[in-house]
Symmetry: C2
Subunit: 225 residues, 2 copies
Amino acid sequence: MLALDVDPDANLAATLGFPDPEKIVPIVEMKELIAERTGVQPETMGIFFKLNPTVDDIRERFSVTHNGISLLVMGRIKKAGTGCYCPENAFVRELVGHLLLDEKDVVIMDMEAGIEHLGRGTSRDVDAFIVVVEPGRRSFETAGRVVELASELGVERHFIIVNKARGEDDRAFAEDFFSGKNIIGMIPYSEDVIESGKENSGIRIEDMTPINTIRDKLMKGVMNG
Amino acid sequence: MLALDVDPDANLAATLGFPDPEKIVPIVEMKELIAERTGVQPETMGIFFKLNPTVDDIRERFSVTHNGISLLVMGRIKKAGTGCYCPENAFVRELVGHLLLDEKDVVIMDMEAGIEHLGRGTSRDVDAFIVVVEPGRRSFETAGRVVELASELGVERHFIIVNKARGEDDRAFAEDFFSGKNIIGMIPYSEDVIESGKENSGIRIEDMTPINTIRDKLMKGVMNG
């Protein structure tokens, strides 16, 4: 599996328990290296992608692997108030697009919270959106906006996962709100998960059953869609 | 009090229990109106702000009021994949800057989650950052990045509020992580708040004591800073 951390507040490595996550250098900071190797200057990255649509080597060269998961960290915001990030975003969008097209493996992208990234279209080439919500009207409404904007990007498959669900009430509330549509599973609220979130070793999940069920359904849903 | 919702996933009106929140038209969609009134076209908004640095009338004309709170909703993402939002962001940044300078009242801005808005500098003119975290290493690390980026914007006062704190363990964990610095208060985990988050009438908080204490400390901290 290839995981892409596309959140500027990159913390997927830490969450997955990768050792020394702060030492992973994000892709957007490697432009010089990539330019060196391809002979194309960073400002003309668009051309690089036209000349070399295959980016298998990017995964090989820049990903880090832990517990069977390869991870590419896309970028971080390094300086406040530096203005327009659109060139960096365009670069990430192109790279992600090519990774999604070339990659034979399952690729999962961790996006930032909220809807802003949908304005940039970084995820326009995915097969499906997995929208993780918490039981609450605001979270559900945001999910509704995500689904709407995803459809505008041309991505028509959406799977909703209700996280931190506390029993039948939450299930009924979610099924009612979404009219039963698109909900692929619920992950129960767990003190264990919250406690492990204080540690330095990644999230520890004791009962993987709900997550494994969701994973199987997802694989089926994406393949058959 | 003037509240600014600067999150593209605007839901402050709904959270505060404003009636018909979906009917509030965001400021960025009123460019034509503003242009009409000032005689300046939207593309030249920068000039408008130079000619008319006073924006008291923007509050009067466009804010909605409920329970003593005036609210301005800045904008929403309306279409997916439309690319560069920098002109809109520049407009919002100028407007917010002038509102913060002119306004005699307390102004609170609700930013989007994460750190991306700090790259745009929308909040460069505030007196202080209030960073709301939940007990967990990832959330605390994000708060650390927010504080760092806020300092780069020239904002040196930072107050951390630990939300959904579940007793002494969480307090000790937070105080240890932040070395006791900057934590201005804790809001206890509450099933009531979560339940009220399912309703259509805004968040209902039964015990306001922790929040009132935080408010008093904040007012003192910002005034004396």
